[in-house]
Amino acid sequence: MLGLGVDRLRADMNRLLAILFHQGVLDEQFLQLQQLQDESSPNFVFEVVTIYFRESEKLLRILRDNLSDREFSDYAKMGIHLNQFLGSSSSIGAKRVRNVCVAFRTASEQNNRLGCLRALELLEHEYCFLKNKLYELFQLEQQRSMAAGVRYPAQH
């Protein structure tokens, strides 16, 4: 029975990943992260993604604060934040978030406050979606490794 649980969980994980790839939420860079995970660094993906979440939420707060201020005009500084967000999203394979950053950056280069506000909303939405899906993935992975851990060693 436990064996079935592990296989089903793995199938669920693969299905979720396939959907995320198909929707363009993640790209091949995420696969690279997974490939870098091994016995010497068994939580690598989780660690990197956790850093990404922390940094992203800080950046989103800054962007939201900036654009809430009607007097805000330092679009160059905003561009620097967006480059950072863009870079880290690209590094973990968060394709859709990255693409919104590109559009956001274009709007900020044009000092287009309305365009920036719209981009920010889109960015917050995409980021939330990504975060939820990645948490789902991590939960499945955790369940799978717990179920796999109960198996007889010979069957591993």
């Binding site: 690279q32 660094s41 660690e47 850093i51 870079g87 693409n99 559009a103």
Partner: protein, 215 residues
């Protein structure tokens, strides 16, 4: 130089992004390199033992270049876009330092700008990697490290300061000679690959594809 022949190569990675530092560290460790990461060019220079006020080639005769470096670094890989000292600035500092100029330097960048790539290669960078860096890129580092090792191993005994100076001059001449020769095919192809990837519209790794996002 006191190098044990079987020690791992030591790479110094420089990037202001924590995520990218984690990534490059993992990539390098997976490829069996020893890794040190720092988050700025200034910290990199500190680590390499190069103080801000060091003047090139005015070392007193009693000091050998080795005394500046406590820890040996075999390769430096650095991000281009960093606040303060850019990767390019760091590259220049290294290549104009008498004690560090022989260390191969690789530049990473998320921006695909041919003029930037050319400038770095002209300044002496061995390779230019586009981010996100992948295992295939890290696999291209070995030839550059092995090339240095072969050259260094021919100077086994610790010479007198005068001999060292003569050796340095000889090394400089060798390096100039090497640079004038047609480079080995492989490393030429690697540099060209980075350039080609930058210049040609089609790429193995998709970039900016399918952007339908309109704001």
């Amino acid at each position: 130089m006191g190098m044990a022949t079987d020690t791992q190569f030591h790479v110094l990675a420089v990037d202001d992004s924590l995520i990218d530092r984690k990534l490059i560290e993992r990539l390098l460790k997976t490829s069996s390199y020893q890794v040190t990461t720092v988050d700025s060019g200034i910290k990199a220079l500190e680590f390499l033992g190069l103080q801000d006020d060091e003047r090139n080639d005015t070392n007193s005769p009693s000091l050998s270049p080795d005394h500046h470096q406590e820890i040996e670094v075999n390769l430096i890989i650095t991000d281009y876009c960093m606040p303060g000292m850019t990767g390019y600035d760091l590259l220049k500092k290294i290549k104009t330092s008498s004690s560090l100029r022989d260390i191969p330097v690789v530049i990473m960048s998320s921006e695909n700008v041919p003029s930037r790539i050319n400038r770095c290669l002209e300044e002496g960078a061995e390779e230019f990697f586009l981010k996100p860096v992948q295992l295939a890129d890290v696999n291209r580092l070995k030839p550059h490290l092995l090339k240095r090792k072969t050259r260094d191993e021919s100077h086994v005994q610790t010479p007198s300061p005068l001999q060292q100076q003569q050796q340095q001059q000889q090394q400089q001449q060798d390096q100039q000679f090497l640079q004038q020769q047609p480079q080995p095919q492989q490393s030429n192809n690697n540099k060209r690959k980075a350039l080609d990837e930058a210049l040609s519209p089609e790429r193995t790794r998709p970039r900016y594809n399918g952007i339908t996002t309109v704001v």
